[in-house]
């Protein structure tokens, strides 16, 4: 479970991608292709490595910015905050962990949501933030997601949900588990109004998040190479006592197995989502400008063959 490991890790480790101490913020080293990349270029590229296409994690605000029409986003999340219903203590108190997550992100939960427009289409965007307690889902996250879905239902907006989460939050016990059902009930109301629901599964999307709202989008999109699945890889390895095949539980794997509609490079999310939503709502093909990609696209290594 990546999220708990992440949770324990305090204080935050030194940035590994610092090139040298004198010029800490100019370049990053890509963990996949080892290329030195200008941070500025990386940011413009929605944190996709311009050399190899590796998808770095992207801050939630930047993701929303890259997706929606400029200046249209209004945040609606942030009106609820977590409590400690179990008075959970392990190596540290849950309260202290929450406090650190709040400090780190400046938010009250792992959910960032609001209304906006995408190529002129009214949408609600809800993004899970892996930086907040590994994106884990407790009562607050479940409530925020539910409210975002209810907002879309009420205002006739398409719903876009971007997941990045290790799963249900252990520190709220079965209450976290219940959020899987609560959010799903809300999605039924959205469906009854005929409104599109599209999920984008970012790295990682596992456990109770994968096994609830993430999996049941009308259309399910995977980010390249994102880890997706119900059980964590360590748990599986311990259960079956063998090592896992390469690429197991990645977006491309699930596309091949028939569980994901498509794997889409983050730089193409904007026009892909706009076109899908417009088609589902039977509206004219939207005028949408794709993110300008200044560098060639990476070779495709998915199951549909490599193209160079």
């Amino acid at each position: 479970m990546t999220l708990e490991r992440f949770f324990r890790r305090r204080p935050p480790q030194q940035k590994e991608n610092t090139v040298n101490d004198d010029l800490p913020d100019l370049w990053s080293k890509c963990p996949k292709c080892n290329a030195q990349v200008y941070n500025k270029e990386l940011e413009q590229n929605l944190r996709v490595c311009p050399k190899c296409g590796y998808h770095h994690r992207i801050p939630v605000k930047r993701r929303v910015e890259g997706l929606l029409d400029a200046g249209t986003f209004q945040v609606t999340s942030g009106r609820v905050k977590a409590k400690d219903p179990l008075e959970f203590v392990d190596t540290d108190t849950y309260v202290a962990k929450l406090e650190r997550a709040r400090k780190k992100t400046g938010r009250e939960s792992a959910v960032y949501a609001g209304r906006g427009s995408l190529a002129g289409l009214p949408v609600v965007v809800c993004v899970m933030d892996f930086e907040f307690a590994g994106g884990s889902m407790g009562s607050t996250e479940g409530e925020e997601i539910t409210r975002a879905i209810e907002l879309a239902t009420k205002e006739d907006r398409a719903m876009i949900l971007v997941t990045a989460s290790g799963g249900a939050r252990m520190m709220e016990g079965a209450l976290s588990l219940m959020q899987m059902a609560k959010t799903t009930f809300a999605l039924e109301q959205l469906a009854n109004k005929g409104l599109p629901y599209i999920t984008v599964l970012a790295d990682p999307t596992t456990g109770g998040v994968a096994a609830s709202f993430a999996a049941i989008g009308d259309i399910v999109i995977g980010e390249p190479d994102a880890l997706i699945g119900f059980a964590g890889q360590r748990v599986i390895e311990q259960t079956v006592r063998q090592s896992l095949p390469d690429g197991f539980q990645r977006s491309e794997f699930y596309e091949k197995k028939g569980f994901i509609d498509m794997v889409v490079d983050r730089r193409h999310h904007r026009e892909t989502l706009a076109n899908l939503i417009a088609a589902l709502r039977n509206q004219p093909k939207p005028e949408v400008t794709a993110l300008e990609i200044k560098v060639p696209e990476p070779p495709r290594t998915g199951i549909f063959g490599r193209r160079k």
Binding site: V80, A82, M178, Q179, F185, F213, F230, V235, K257
Partner: protein, 317 residues
């Protein structure tokens, strides 16, 4: 029935009482005074043990060998059980049983998560851990119940959905999500009972009921105490500590509104009096069904949605 670790003192005392009785009857020495004393002590020991069970002891009771399984309960409470097999798409998963049955004459659809009663059966049933086809079978039975307007009763008892390579390949996450979704759409009375172990998403997949009941010594958790301990303390042996932290007992869950009713078990757990505990469960099913009978199809769906909408503890800012 093998005693659980914390029950050993009780079993030891019982053995001594038996020995004394045998000795008394064979030797014609009057032992009634001594026996009465020991019986009294036994009674006290039982009370002390079972009235102050730790959460970890409850977990052990919930998993106790000999605890009534779904099939045992089905056999005792229902009549005319007709088991139905297969998911109509891939295969048959013995970790989930289901079919038609009658409860005091009323036809119902049953879905039960089935652990084995011995090693051989446990292997056949994969210790009650379903693969995607098990959830698909459950979903097909839910559809059937919905189509014919029959109440659905689900019996939850699983360590969790199976975390294996094939299960992941066949979309474990998707099937759990779809099963939850299916349950949000049912326009029939749905009662879910946690009868033993309610293990995470694999349990919730069949537990989205209008009423969620739980047996007194059953547990329901987001993660097993062992896995929680392995993550937090890097040591599965700290499971007792984890069980405390997770607040996973029937009374804990009732407090949070996660379950609606706790069904009492005989002292020492359901396996000590399977007949008596089944009677209690039957009574609970009957009176809950009676209440749900008052609701029409829309109200059944809406009230289930409202029930789950309320779950969660947070603070408005």
């Amino acid at each position: 029935m093998p005693a659980l670790e914390f029950e050993k003192p009780i079993v030891d005392l019982e053995t001594r009482i038996d020995e004394l009785k045998t000795y008394g009857s064979s030797s014609n020495v009057d032992m009634s005074e001594e026996l009465a004393l020991l019986e009294k002590r036994l009674e006290r020991l039982r009370s002390e043990t079972y009235e102050k069970l730790t959460r970890w002891q409850r977990v052990q009771l919930a998993r106790a060998p000999g605890r009534p399984t779904a099939m045992d309960i089905i056999g005792r409470i229902f009549t005319d059980f007709q088991e139905l097999h297969g998911d109509r798409a891939y295969g048959e998963d013995a970790a989930i049983v289901g079919g038609l049955a009658r409860l005091e004459g009323q036809a119902v659809v049953l879905i039960g998560q089935q652990k084995g009663r011995d090693t051989k059966e446990n292997i056949a049933r994969n210790f009650g851990m379903a693969h995607p086809e098990g959830f698909r079978k459950a979903m097909r039975l839910m559809d059937m119940a919905d189509k014919f307007g029959l109440p659905l009763i689900t019996l939850v008892d699983t360590p969790g959905a199976y975390p294996g390579i094939a299960a992941e390949e066949r979309g474990q996450a998707w099937l759990i999500a779809q099963s939850i979704q299916k349950m949000t759409r049912l326009r029939i009375p749905v009662i879910s009972v946690i009868i033993g172990e309610g293990g995470s998403g694999g349990a919730l997949a069949v537990a989205v009921g209008n009423r969620v009941l739980i047996l007194e010594n059953a547990v329901y958790s987001v993660i097993s105490p062992e896995s929680c301990a392995a993550i937090v303390w890097r040591d599965a042996k700290e499971a007792a500590k984890a069980a405390e932290a997770l607040r996973l007992t029937a009374r804990d869950l009732e407090q949070f509104g996660i379950v609606d009713e706790v069904i009492p078990e005989p002292k020492g757990g359901a396996h000590n009096d399977p007949v008596g505990s089944s009677e209690e469960l039957k009574k609970a099913l009957l009176h809950n069904l009676e209440q749900l009978r008052m609701l029409d199809k829309d109200a059944l769906l809406d009230s289930r949605a409202e029930r789950f909408r309320r779950l969660g503890v947070f603070e408005e800012i």
